[in-house]
């Protein structure tokens, strides 16, 4: 690299750094000044975010974003993202918040802060309304369908009692068919899948029996934004209390928020 080019590149980098530093001075104040809350939302992950018949984004995450914008008294600007680019959109300052069914893990915690949980996301055992299966031990003597190699399969295989019959199917559709055709009594899958099933098939009830692995969704916020973080947390907490979050859950997940939530 010749010296002139090196100078240009480093100058450009400095500009970028100082600009982003300025943008992050106080995100909450900036949002209020601009009058716009910019939020990254999914568009390919129903029921959290998808494109509706009117070509507008819709879903759990979009409703939460709208609720926060109302709370802040600003307009809402949605940016559709994929699961791969949702974090870069936030860290490069293109959006103020990521509400994109984001789970918590140590790698992500290094680069961004998380709000309190705003949506349930878990693997669990589901079954008909009448069956009383409160925990893993109660699986004794029952037949459960799982998709082979899935998180549910690996977890249940470790902890289920010996007399529980775990039937492993090749793909999600076969697992679901096994439940609806009555070949098994229970099914282990994700709450999002169960929500979609409940909407589609109303002949046979499908209720959450217990959680296998809990990995709720959090709102992603850039590091060093304590005011914005506190404000978002307060808004989510009040929405929980007022029942608004529960209404969003009922609308998109067809089930009330879990008790532990």
């Amino acid at each position: 690299m010749n010296p002139r080019l090196r100078f240009l590149v480093s100058a450009a980098l400095c500009c970028g750094l100082s600009f982003s530093a300025a943008a992050h001075a106080d995100a909450l104040a900036n949002i209020k000044k601009a009058g716009v809350l910019r939020v990254a939302v999914p568009q390919d992950f129903p029921p959290f975010g998808s494109v509706g018949a009117d070509l507008k984004p819709q879903g759990y995450d979009i409703d939460v974003a709208a609720m926060l914008a109302r709370d802040l008294g600003v307009k809402l600007a949605l940016t559709p993202v994929t699961s791969a680019n949702r974090v870069p959109f936030l860290t490069t300052g293109k959006v103020d918040l990521v509400i994109s069914s984001l789970g918590k893990n140590p790698e992500r915690e290094k680069v961004l802060d998380f709000s309190v949980a705003y949506a349930p996301f878990y693997n669990g055992v589901f079954g008909p309304a009448g069956a009383s299966v409160a925990n893993v031990a109660a699986l004794a003597g029952k037949t459960i369908a799982v998709t082979r190699g899935s998180v549910e399969d690996l977890e249940l295989s470790k902890v289920a009692p010996a007399s529980a019959v775990i039937k492993r199917f090749e793909d999600n559709n076969s697992t679901v068919s096994a439940y609806y055709s009555g070949q098994v009594q229970l099914i282990a899958t994700g709450n999002v899948v169960a929500a979609a099933l409940k909407k589609r098939d109303t002949q046979k009830s499908l209720e959450t029996k217990f959680l296998i692995k809990d990995s709720p969704c959090f709102i992603g916020i850039n590091k060093n934004e304590p005011q914005l973080l506190a404000r978002v947390n307060a808004a989510v907490a009040s929405a929980r209390k007022s029942g608004e979050l529960n209404r969003i859950s009922l609308r998109w997940l067809n089930t009330p928020l879990p008790a532990a939530f």
Binding site: A145, R148, G149, K167, S174, S181, G182, Q183
Partner: protein, 224 residues
């Protein structure tokens, strides 16, 4: 970069593989015995044109031979419960194999029966044997001997086809392989081992069937 083989991850699952082999053999055994029975009865009906069963058998053969085995299996396991018929995965798998093998062997046995020279049957009848006796003693043994290699091939095909039964959670050999593969993620090694096991099973099965054929038909089986 060369692939690093690691078969140690499979050895710890040897119990699952052994159980898979046993279950595959059991499914094949049940499927073969009852499938051949269906085939002999169907082949006789078709070969001697016993109406109206002849047409019924023709319908059965066309229906089964022109639909995929997997669809037949799903129909029995996932479809029949809608009519209140709940069969567990083993019964469903065995039934599907019997029905499938029965259709193919019906056609194979029919060919053998129809190839019987007319004079042999007439000779039997002229010795005051009943039609049933003629079929049982004069027609069937040489007919089976004639088509035995084709029957053996069909039985091996059905044995290999039983791998599909893993789709309805029947824990046979392919199920064991997929199970292991979903645990240790060594897909290459797992399926190499499984393929070798199937190969050995097929060779042994063919050998046994050839010997059985020589005994059953009381004559030298046509060499394939």
């Amino acid at each position: 970069m060369a692939y690093q083989f690691d078969f140690s991850g499979i050895w710890e699952y040897r119990a699952e593989l052994a159980a898979g082999v046993v279950h595959t053999l059991a499914l094949t055994g049940v499927g073969t015995v009852f499938g051949l029975l269906v085939g002999v009865v169907g082949g006789a009906v078709r070969g001697w044109r016993v109406e109206p069963y002849n047409r019924l058998c023709g319908l059965y053969v066309e229906l089964i031979r022109n639909t995929p085995f997997l669809v037949q299996l799903f129909f029995i396991f996932f479809g029949l419960p809608a009519l209140g018929v709940h069969l567990n995965e083993w019964v469903a798998a065995a039934l599907a194999m019997i029905i499938n093998l029965g259709a193919y062997t019906t056609e194979i046995v029919r060919a053998g029966v129809q190839a019987t020279p007319r004079g042999q049957m007439e000779a039997g009848l002229s010795l005051a044997m009943s039609r049933r006796q003629v079929f049982w003693h004069v027609v069937l043994p040489p007919a089976l001997g004639r088509v035995w290699p084709a029957l053996c091939s069909q039985i091996v095909i059905v044995m290999l086809g039983s791998s599909v039964c893993s789709q309805i959670s029947a824990e046979e050999l392919t199920f064991a392989a997929s199970y292991i593969q979903s645990r240790n993620f060594r897909a290459f090694e797992t399926y190499i081992v499984t393929a070798v096991l199937y190969l050995l099973l097929a060779i042994v099965l063919r050998h046994l069937l050839n010997r059985l054929g020589a005994r059953l038909t009381n004559r030298d089986v046509a060499k394939p």
